[in-house]
């Protein structure tokens, strides 16, 4: 089971700023381990962000997104107590969903 994300969602003016850190190796498939064996690609491909039930961002990622990915953006509206839910899916079809309350 992948580790939880760290999500912050805060009102800034009339927008909600979302910042998220994810725990993931983001292996490119190009590096080798100490025994010379290629470490297969293992990376997050899709990220969905929902504000309550509404999608506010959809991202497609390749292997060039850094290890333990970070992302931030803002959506209009949002109120204290609203829910921001983020889901990622990687190329092994592993997934993780976490939520944060807008503060």
């Amino acid at each position: 089971m992948p580790d939880p994300m760290k999500i912050r969602a805060n009102l800034v003016g009339d927008s909600t700023e979302v910042k998220v850190l994810m725990s993931h190796e983001m292996d490119t498939g190009l590096a080798k381990d100490s025994s010379g064996k290629v470490i297969p690609a293992w990376f997050i491909q899709k990220v969905t962000v929902l504000h309550n039930d509404q999608q506010v961002l959809y991202a497609q990622w390749g292997t060039a997104v850094s290890k333990n990915p970070f992302m931030s953006f803002k959506f209009k509206g949002g109120a204290k107590g609203d829910k921001v839910t983020i889901t990622w899916v990687d190329n092994h079809n592993e997934t993780r969903t976490d939520s944060a309350v807008v503060g």
Partner: protein, 158 residues
């Protein structure tokens, strides 16, 4: 799955439908959440032309309305290069980050629904000093700006 379920249940009140169903074990969130596809072809390209083709064609116009922010001129370590892009082009639909000299050019593509500010920050890997492109799709057209980011020799791992 257990921890995940706990997490979702703990969050109570305004749960999204997907999270709720996933928490109840009815659906696999991997299958349910991002209904959108992952554009495999676009992530396997090595130049701008083929990337654009894989993304759905179009000729990008250089635009001063696409702007990098919080993006350094020199990256101390190519493993983590902060990139921020904002678009002032009306009706921006998506923002993509492309690194010219990476093994695959497209690093990330962000689809921006109405109501979301056309500005994102993230961190990408760079194999070497390279031009980085911010590619914006708006009203069916493409707009682009670029910036060279130097990757220093200091970044060799110790």
């Amino acid at each position: 799955m257990d921890r995940h379920r706990r997490q979702a249940l703990k969050s109570g009140g305004g749960l999204s439908l997907v999270a709720l169903l996933a928490a109840a074990g009815w659906i696999d969130p991997a299958a349910a959440a991002p209904a959108e596809a992952w554009n495999k072809a676009a992530f396997q390209t090595h130049d701008m032309d083929s990337t654009l083709k894989a993304l759905g064609d179009g000729t990008p116009v250089p635009s001063a309305n696409v702007v990098f922010f919080s993006t350094p001129d020199i990256a101390e370590n190519g493993a983590v290069v902060p990139v921020g892009i904002t678009s002032k082009v009306p009706n921006t639909e998506s923002i993509a980050i492309l690194v010219e000299k990476n093994p695959n050019m497209l690093a990330a593509l962000f689809e921006i629904p109405t109501g979301t500010e056309p500005a994102i920050t993230t961190r990408v890997k760079m194999r070497e000093t390279s031009n980085v492109y911010a590619l914006v799709k708006a009203g069916g057209n493409y707009y682009v700006t670029s910036k060279e980011i130097k990757v220093t020799l200091g970044g060799c791992g110790g």
